[in-house]
Assembly symmetry: C2
Homo-oligomer: 209 residues x 2
Amino acid sequence: MRLQRSDLDSLPRRQRAAFINCLSGYKSANLVGTVSRDGQPNLAIVSSVVHLGANPPLLAFINRPPSVDRHTLEYLTDTGYFTLNHVHAGMVEAAHQTSARYPRDVSEFDAVGLTAEFGAVHPAPYVAESRLKIGLQVRDIKPIELNGTVMVIGEIVEIVLPDQALAEDGYVDLSQLDTVTIGGLDGYYRVEPMFRLSYAKPDCSPEKL
Amino acid sequence: MRLQRSDLDSLPRRQRAAFINCLSGYKSANLVGTVSRDGQPNLAIVSSVVHLGANPPLLAFINRPPSVDRHTLEYLTDTGYFTLNHVHAGMVEAAHQTSARYPRDVSEFDAVGLTAEFGAVHPAPYVAESRLKIGLQVRDIKPIELNGTVMVIGEIVEIVLPDQALAEDGYVDLSQLDTVTIGGLDGYYRVEPMFRLSYAKPDCSPEKL
């Protein structure tokens, strides 16, 4: 099947959104934790977290237009910090439920049954149930003029994970933590390791590590 | 284990890069296809493709600093188009091998044994072996000043996929296409569907679709 732009434009709005959301490939599954100036915790699932670079250690995510979805963006702007918390198979339903539109005075932590956990390094709440948690300082918020979204860039200030998850060479096998991946708007997937491959060089084939 | 920024900074450079690259969660596995002005095809694996929005249909990826890795960025800038091609389990080694640093006059298609396929809508080459292929027009290239990378934003102009892959409601089950996901710098994973969940509303729990 070969679809041109006009075919896409003729799809009903929901169908089109479901389709386009599948096209980037598998997505990371993270919960963004923030807290308001007056101490109200907030939690939202995001599938758009992307690695920007290791030095300095930067991650980013795409946030919907500020007019639509204000709390996460407002709180991380106000406090300067947010957390990212990997979603594992046992917490998928609760994580998904954070995408419901709760009123401002409701904490999604309470509403979906997850536990806010605070550390000493920054004010943003972690999700206690998550097995890999990252605290980040907001470094930039880039407007994407083409559709009104923004890219929030954070610099890692803290990482919390099980001792045995971090291998000697720095690798973290996410499948050991049962971290899930997302397809499209609403598909959740488990993951099985295939192999790791050696650093690619022009004159030899990659080897399985 | 609770690592602060100073712990990260004390890790050896490679170990640190391997570790930080694992932290965003699972990554999409795509090959970026481009062609130079004088017809030289180029292919590069990327794990940073992210969905920006469905209307207009926008995808983006992060490209390393222009000084380090020139061909992809140069060619897509020159021609105004690029393709994204999902990597399935049967083509992982070839896809990984595109990350070797080949000289400018070598096509990675030839070097790794993948086939360039051209369509009628735009000049950029697809990967014939891929099962889900997307043609995009460059819409913006945003510099990320914090580390010198750039975010390339493309608008979808064509999608090529098997007829049976697209469900009535717009969903594409990527596991049916055997699309893989990436962990860290060099880990490849197969994916198994868990379930889809209904649109979340404050007053009810999500249902499995």
